[in-house]
Amino acid sequence: MPEDRDWEVYKAPPTRTPVLEKDTSLSNPVHLFQAAFSYVLDRPITFVREWIERQQAKNKFYYYHQQFRRVPDLSECMEGDYLCFFEAEAQWRRDRMVDQEIVAIVRERFGACQQREGPNQFQNCAKEMEQLVQVTKAYQDKYGELGAHGNARTCLMKQKHRMMEERKAQENADQ
């Protein structure tokens, strides 16, 4: 059953609807619809769901997120040490998956802020926008145009080229 998202994370600010003064003696028909919804839909569904959860609570079991040990990076491997290459490659792939999830979370945060703020988004969401810009720029710099067959080695070569260009730019700036 798909989980609801965590309601505590993106909490909407409390609504500020004013309390209405009632001048008529007619009862509000909205209360009737609310009662109908509650008795016909809400209560039976909640009852079934709680019964199911009581059945499931009898034997609880847990799952964990796997923690991997850090191994030497590709830049720390000796030449011809294929085992070191293999482990460094596996670690690089895990790190890339983690980075993809980080980008997704930051993007989701920005989207939630936009949805929450509505027309005020350009002023109130500046922090989230800045964070998203930085994170996506960093991701693009590191994993950007490696392509579908990108691996740790091509990523390291890309980093090397970036450092060389930085050094060249610095030399040109110094001159």
Binding site: M1, Q55, Q56, F61, Y63, Y64, G80, F86
Partner: protein, 189 residues
């Protein structure tokens, strides 16, 4: 219904007699001949629910309906037990909850999955991912050692061929005492 068809036949006979009589008679009331009639009915009857039994000619649906029946049968034969089993597992066993790894506890490799059926498959049918990792590393190790040995062999062969002081690259040459150098004894040949 039989009574209705009898009535219709009686009405048809009466109508036929009247038509014969009317052709001789002349100006008589006829049935409204412009009224649309079903093929087979002679007189339009207002409350008839069946009409005349028709043999409707259409293409056979025998093969199509047989195919669909068999399809449904074989799909549901295993589909329904599987669906019941999965519903039972989802309702009564339920999915795992996410928890922090307790101090000093190393979870087994199947405890990283959420759904109970995935956990079962990982535990009893599949190998632990550490085993796959180690198998890949073992293969790589063997191949790396083979590469190294082959390169060393090539190097040794090259050096022995070049220097000639190793156990390889000895070729049988004929004995020096067998050569007849009497031709070369005098310089004037």
């Amino acid at each position: 219904m039989a009574a209705m068809s009898l009535l219709l036949r009686a009405a048809a006979a009466w109508g036929a007699r009247r038509a014969v009589g009317g052709a001789a008679g002349g100006a008589r009331l006829r049935w409204p001949s412009g009224a649309a009639r079903l093929p087979g009915t002679v007189a339009p009857v207002r409350h008839s629910s069946h009409g005349k039994r028709m043999f409707i000619i259409k293409a056979t649906s025998f093969y199509d309906s047989r195919f669909l029946n068999l399809l449904r049968f074989y799909i549901f034969l295993t589909g329904i037990p599987v669906a019941v089993f999965i519903t039972y597992v989802n309702i009564f066993i339920g999915e795992a909850e996410l928890a922090e790894i307790p101090e000093g506890y190393v979870p087994d490799y199947w405890e990283y999955y959420k759904h109970p059926i995935s956990r079962w498959i990982a535990r009893y049918l599949l190998d632990p991912p550490e085993k796959n990792y180690e198998k890949a590393m073992a293969l790589l190790d063997v191949e790396a050692k083979k590469t190294e040995l082959r390169l060393m062999e090539l190097e040794a062969r090259r050096l022995m061929r070049a220097r000639g002081d190793g156990p390889w690259y000895h070729y049988e040459t004929p004995d020096k005492n067998l050569t007849d150098e009497s031709m070369k004894a005098t310089p004037d040949n």
